[in-house]
């Protein structure tokens, strides 16, 4: 996109430059320009748009349109203010509209059609969104309690969706066909309520235990007919029943895995184990959704706790109090938990067993006895988690780990419950189905006889009664196990023993329906569970809430904060409960096709009840399990549950013979025989042949092998990917530690590219640094001027940035080093003594430069720009202020203050001198003159510096390394000659392109290099400044100190040179700044250790100045340290300097510090 546009723009660049200038101004008004990457680009885009309006070339037009479309497509991801977005969008659209039609007619139609389509799809989407259930409700909850609580409801809704699909599947393919086309109620034996039960079939009691009419309904497996094809269309119900039963699992698996994959893709970024503990706790702690004062308060408290916890953890990571006690406590806790798990499992098994026995012994069962099993199960699921929670307090784990433990235990408990229940049931089923073959011959005769009887032949039944009853008397003993099952059917109201036995026998084939029995149990369990949930919500949450709220006044303690409190909404446990509930559904769905439908109703009820309870009487849990991360955790548990719930069903399907007299698979040996049967009978012959081949071991074994190989292969790939992933991560990490510079650069580029103001500042500082002057302090105006020139130059800054900086850093190595070595030599004397000297060279510099013609020339340009800038300066300042309006006393204020400090006067002077270039000399003299006086000297000195700054800045000078080198040597020899030398250098450098300003890049980093390279030029200035600084030091405020630091930084940078070593060093210094400071020798050692690379440039560099250069470096590193730890270190350094002022390198330190301060400013 950009390349295209660039090429397009190329022709009319001048125009665009002007426009950009304008737009830059506009941008500078904007406050947030700093990180708006696209800001700059977009303004350019606008310009380009304008430019291209006239072009008629179709290709160009097409590209333009494409480009505009891209703008439109991406506009919503851009961090612009709305007004701007609207404007850009309007503009882009206009152009697209205008030109698209002009391009070709067909294209126009195409786009029109596409537009229509888009609109339609949007409408459709809107409609779909409206039908997302409970959106508003969840939204409300979310806004009250935050995302954690809402995640429960979203999960519930998702489960609801799954259940809807399951319901549709079972409803459409099993229930509806059976209802519509199957044999109607009462026509077949399996669909008729036995006569004796007819009377009680509508009793609430019977209905409650899912007997009577409910038992003989589409609710349960037993009702479905075994006829292969039903209805006129020949719907294969049994086949459909089996396939749908399997499809329920398949669909659940697929949807779950898909969701999990999606989630993990979403949270891919967080998969890394990188630690930003504190950052996250600070920046991601607040849930912006929270809109309820109470929730906000508890969230605040939770955050405080969290942070305190983190602090404590950080402080005493290794401190373990009495490990033995802790271990024993945890052991104890685990034993307790295990015991309670085992107890609950035993209880369930016992209850099932007892119910069996009860049914055997007692003809009539009370309501309690009938519902014992499900009630006990539900009670356990309700109570045990709280017990676990109590136990967990013993363990003293970290809250998060304890929550994990809690979840795991509850899950195990639920699973244990379900499993022991299903195992007990299957046990019963086992005994049920085994009674038939085990029973004595005459009994089996009866059953077989009955079986052979046509089922609807009720009339014949009556004749049989006497015979049957007669036989029964003989076999009562053997029939007892069967009785149990019969009674469980809910046929408790038998009149007499005799008739009861008759009942049993007549019903026995029918009641033998273990599938129905299992389905009934599951449905019953589900119902009881729902009742318990509702009751617990009402009792534990609502009543408690009422009591706490209204009785707290008349109670001796504070109910709200002490004992009962308000019920907490325990997300994790509630989610687990949902999972458990869903597990029941999966387990029972095959035997009770309407279970999903029931679950849908249940979930709807739960949704409303829970949301009501949450909003009225719950407070959010203190330790909220992180919503997004837990999502997959929940799903994983759900998957686990699905798998484990599928197992018993599959097991039952595979292991047990289907009931002989009920259900779609009656008469078959195994339920899955329906498939082979269908294949054999209903498919063409070749198909069954193919099937037989396919299912033969010849095919199956290789297929299995292939599957294994595939799995192995995929796993290997996954492992290798993981490996590469890790490697990449390692690489990233090393890069990060090694290459912080790069990152920083990028950041800088990012910051700079968009916001022109920032760019200006940086570039200014950059330039000023080149000249080794501190522009920001001394002359803010020139600085800004420089930026203005920058604005004029059309720049692809981001591109040029890096290359330039690098070349500067590398190419100028030697020179820079030489320069650095030189500087200490230049400052051999003590500060105070040097005061006069200092001024002279610095002043002389400018004067010399003035003499050189080329310099004049350059200066003219600059001056022109200066004057412009001066006028515009107020503007700039404004922008500056706008950028940092709220700035505290920090860096920037210092900057601006320092800048403004001498501003007005400076400007005046500049104005005077610069237009008349020849007067420069006089200008130089003026400072001198001021020198005598103490305070004003400052301002005056600055002037010359400024002037000079421009000159050196121009020389950006890769092309003249030798000369500069020479000049530097000269410098080393004598300070007095600097003026001439400078002239020379200036001559060389004068013709540097004014586009230098484009090199504004991560200025601070390479500033140092440039400084060094220009050392020759700027040396005196440096010296002068340094001294000046030192003089001023005491008077100056913090801001000044900072400036100094900046300088030092840049200095250090040049000495450091290599990016990587530098980075390493920064770390090092960060860690132990104080040490480095203690003695230069130390720091030197460190340096030598850390970066051999560093030393290299030195050795290569001017051998004559080697020693001094090393000194310099040391100082540089020291300064660098300083930079990192801003204030205190600077102060320290100052004091130190005071002590060591006699030493050369200390002097340089001073200078360096100045530069370093610049750096800080540039960052701003």
């Amino acid at each position: 996109m950009s390349t295209v546009s660039e090429s397009l723009v190329g022709s009319s660049r001048s125009l665009s430059a002007a426009k950009r200038h304008k737009s830059v101004r506009k941008n500078s008004r904007r406050i947030y320009s700093a990180y708006q990457d696209h800001d700059q680009g977009s303004s350019d885009e606008e310009d380009k748009v304008d430019e291209r309006v006239d072009s008629d070339d179709p290709e160009e037009m097409f590209q333009n349109i494409q480009y505009q479309k891209e703008i439109i497509a991406n506009i919503r991801t851009r961090p612009w203010p709305m007004r701007r977005k609207l404007k850009v969008l309007k503009h882009a659209r206009e152009i697209v509209l205008k030109y698209e039609g002009r391009l070709t007619r067909t294209r126009g139609y195409q786009t029109a059609g596409a537009d229509m389509l888009k609109k339609m799809s949007r409408m459709l989407y809107n409609i779909v969104v409206v039908f997302i259930p409970w959106e508003v409700r969840i939204k409300k909850i979310e806004s009250h309690f935050g995302s954690g609580v809402a995640s429960y409801f979203i999960f519930l809704r998702w489960l609801f969706g799954i259940n809807i699909v399951l319901t549709i599947m079972t409803g459409a393919f099993i229930v509806l066909p059976e209802l519509l086309a199957g044999a109607p109620f009462g026509t077949t034996r399996s669909k008729t309520i036995p006569k004796e039960h007819l009377a009680s079939a509508q009793d609430l009691d019977t209905i409650w235990s899912l007997g009577g009419y409910l038992q003989y309904s589409v609710l349960f497996y037993g009702y479905y007919g075994r006829v292969r094809k039903i209805g006129s269309a020949g719907y294969r119900l049994p086949l459909a029943y089996f396939l749908v039963g399997m499809a329920v699992f398949a669909y659940s698996f697929i949807i779950l895995l898909r969701k999990m994959a999606k989630n993990s893709r979403l949270s891919l970024a967080s998969a890394s184990d990188e630690n930003f503990t504190f950052c996250w706790r600070v920046f991601c702690a607040w849930d912006y959704l929270i809109g309820n004062p109470e929730a906000a308060e508890s969230k605040g408290a939770a955050i405080v706790n969290n942070i305190r916890e983190a602090i404590v953890e950080e402080q005493e990571k290794k401190k373990d109090t009495s490990l033995a006690v802790l271990i024993s406590l945890r052991l104890l806790a685990n034993i307790l938990v295990l015991m309670s798990l085992a107890g609950s499992i035993y209880i369930i098994y016992f209850v099932v067993d007892r119910s069996q026995k009860l049914e055997q012994e007692k003809p009539e069962l009370t309501l309690w006895e009938k519902n014992e099993v499900s009630v006990v199960v539900s009670l356990i699921t309700m109570i045990a988690p709280s017990a676990f929670e109590l136990v967990a307090q013993l363990e003293m784990y970290h809250p998060r780990t304890s929550l994990r433990f809690q979840l795991a235990r509850v899950l195990v408990l639920y699973l244990g419950n379900l499993y022991s229940l299903i195992i007990a049931l299957l046990d019963k089923v086992n005994s049920m189905s085994s009674t038939i073959p085990v029973s004595p011959a005459n009994w089996s005769d009866t059953s077989s006889y009955l079986a052979t009887i046509a089922q609807p032949a009720a009339s014949s039944l009556s004749t049989l009664v006497s015979e049957i009853s007669h036989r029964n008397s003989t076999i009562t003993t053997t029939a007892t196990p069967l009785d149990v099952t019969n009674r469980s059917r809910g046929s408790s109201d038998t009149f007499s023993n005799q008739t009861a036995q008759f009942d049993k026998n007549t019903r026995s084939p029918q009641d033998q329906c273990w599938e129905t029995y299992v389905g009934q149990e599951m449905l019953k369990l589900s119902i009881i569970d729902m009742i318990f949930t509702v009751a617990s919500i009402l009792l534990i949450d609502f009543i408690r809430g009422l009591v706490v709220r209204y009785l707290s006044d008349c109670c001796c303690w504070d109910l709200e904060s002490k004992f009962p409190e308000y019920g907490e909404f325990k997300i994790a446990e509630n989610v687990l409960h949902l999972i458990y509930n869903q597990g029941m559904i999966w387990m029972g769905a095959f035997f009770s096709p309407c279970l999903p439908a029931f679950n849908v109703l249940k979930l709807i009820g739960l949704m409303y009840l829970r949301s009501w309870a949450v909003l009225t009487c719950n407070v959010p849990h203190q330790q909220v399990f992180k919503a997004s991360r837990s999502n997959n955790f929940y799903l994983a548990m759900l998957l686990f549950m699905l798998f484990l719930c599928m197992l018993p069903t599959i097991f039952a399907i595979v292991r047990y013979r289907p009931s002989q007299h009920c259900g779609p698979f009656s008469g078959q040996e195994k339920i899955y025989d329906i498939i082979s049967e269908t294949v054999a009978s209903d498919f063409p012959l070749w198909f069954s042949k193919v099937m037989s081949y396919v299912t033969s071991p010849v095919v199956v074994l290789p297929a299995l092998l292939l599957l294994f190989m595939l799995i192995y292969y995929l796993q290997a790939i996954a492992r290798s990917l993981k490996f590469t992933n890790n490697q990449l991560m390692m690489q990233l990490q090393t890069e990060r530690t090694d290459d912080k510079k790069k990152v920083f650069q990028m950041a800088a580029a990012r910051l700079q590219a968009p916001g022109e103001e920032v760019v200006e500042q940086k570039s200014d500082e950059h330039e000023s640094d080149i000249t080794s002057q501190d522009p920001s302090i001394q002359t803010p105006s020139p600085q800004r001027n420089g930026s203005v020139t920058n604005l004029h130059t059309p720049g692809q800054r981001s591109n040029s940035i890096r290359t330039i900086t690098q070349s500067a850093s590398r190419g100028e190595l030697n020179r820079a080093v030489a320069g650095s070595s030189r500087s200490p030599a230049a400052i051999p004397k003590q500060r105070l003594e040097q005061v006069p000297n200092r001024h002279t060279p610095s002043l002389g510099g400018p004067s010399g430069s003035c003499r050189s013609k080329s310099y004049y020339h350059k200066v003219c340009n600059h001056q022109a720009s200066y004057s412009d800038n001066i006028q515009s300066d107020p503007l700039y300042r404004k922008t500056l202020r706008a950028i940092h309006p709220v700035e505290p006393a920090g860096i920037i204020t210092a900057h601006s203050y320092g800048g403004r400090h001498g501003h007005a006067t400076r400007y005046v002077i500049v104005n005077e001198h610069e237009p008349r270039k020849k007067l420069l000399r006089s200008a130089t003299r003026i400072p001198r003159h001021y020198l005598m006086e103490e305070e004003p000297a400052e301002i005056l000195e600055l002037y010359p510096c400024n002037i000079k700054r421009y000159t050196p800045r121009t020389p950006h000078q890769q092309p003249h390394p030798h000369r500069s080198h020479l000049s530097q040597q000269n410098l080393n020899e004598d300070e007095e000659k600097e003026g001439k030398r400078r002239r020379r250098v200036l001559l060389e450098k004068a013709y540097r392109p004014c586009s230098l300003s484009d090199l504004h890049q991560p200025a601070h980093f390479y500033i140092g290099d440039r400084v060094e390279s220009h050392m020759s030029v700027a040396k005196d200035i440096h010296v002068g400044r340094g001294r000046y600084r030192s003089q001023e030091e005491d008077e100056e405020e913090e801001g000044d100190i900072r400036w100094r630091g900046l300088k030092s930084h840049s200095r250090s940078q040049d000495s450091v040179r290599g990016a990587e070593p530098q980075l390493v060093r920064t770390r090092r210094h960060l860690n132990s700044p104080g040490r480095n400071w203690q003695s230069p020798t130390r720091s030197r050692q460190i340096k030598s250790k850390t970066g051999p690379n560093l030393e290299q440039p030195l050795t290569e560099s001017d051998s004559a100045s080697l020693a001094s250069s090393s000194d310099q470096q040391n100082s540089g590193t020291d300064q660098y340290i300083q930079v990192i730890h801003n204030k205190e270190r600077y102060l320290k350094s100052d004091t130190r300097q005071g002590k060591l002022s006699k030493k050369r390198f200390k002097e340089t330190l001073d200078l360096d510090s100045l530069e370093a301060n610049d750096l800080v400013c540039s960052n701003v």
Binding site: Y32, R78, L89, A296, V743
Partner: protein, 193 residues
């Protein structure tokens, strides 16, 4: 589309559709310009015109917006509003208002959110999260319940963790890097309206 009076022209609505990060639903109760306008309007019924077809220039001060129930409990409410206002003082025009909730909706891309989160936490608007910003953030977050020492410690630790370039403050790059790894940034940095 079912609106009684026209607050916006179709063109405007269309523009919003393209610009806003969250798909607009034009029905009641959902994220839509009309609904947002309703919210905006009810903040200051006498100030905000009902007819926005001509883009009236009208701004609501920070104090009014901060009182919305969605923002009222948020410790950073002032910063949020300031960050989205063009003048930096918290005066929001309707467009900025829409922008705010668009960025804070759950559909906004992570990068966009990160940018604005950075702005919000950058109290002194210097484009860096320095210690001072962190302190303020912490104090707002915890309602000054932490002792100064604790605050200091946390600030130092946080900076140490996320500061890649060693300048003792967090630039946007640092911040983005850190926030992009946060597991629940996306889910928590959003406001429903």
């Amino acid at each position: 589309m079912g609106n009684k009076q026209t607050i916006f022209t179709d063109e405007q609505l269309d523009a919003y559709q393209v610009i806003l990060t969250k798909p607009i639903v034009v029905f009641v109760g959902f994220f839509s310009p009309s609904r947002l306008h309703g919210r905006y309007h009810e903040l200051a019924p006498h100030l905000v015109p009902m007819d926005y077809t001509k883009d009236p220039d009208c701004k609501l001060p920070l104090a009014l917006i901060v009182n919305m129930p969605e923002l009222k409990e948020n410790p950073f409410r002032n910063r949020i509003v300031e960050s989205f206002s063009e003048d930096g003082m918290g005066n929001l025009s309707f467009n900025e208002f829409v922008d705010m909730f668009s960025v804070l909706s759950e559909m906004a891309p992570r990068e966009l959110k990160a940018i604005y989160a950075f702005k919000i936490y950058d109290f002194n608007v210097d484009n860096y999260l320095c210690k001072e910003d962190l302190e303020k953030t912490l104090n707002k977050l915890t309602k000054e319940e932490l002792t100064p020492e604790e605050v200091q410690l946390v600030c130092e630790k946080a900076i140490e963790e996320a500061d890649l370039d060693g300048d003792n403050k967090l630039s946007f790059a640092d911040f983005e890097n850190m926030i992009s790894r946060a597991p629940d940034f996306l889910s928590t940095f959003h406001i429903r309206i």
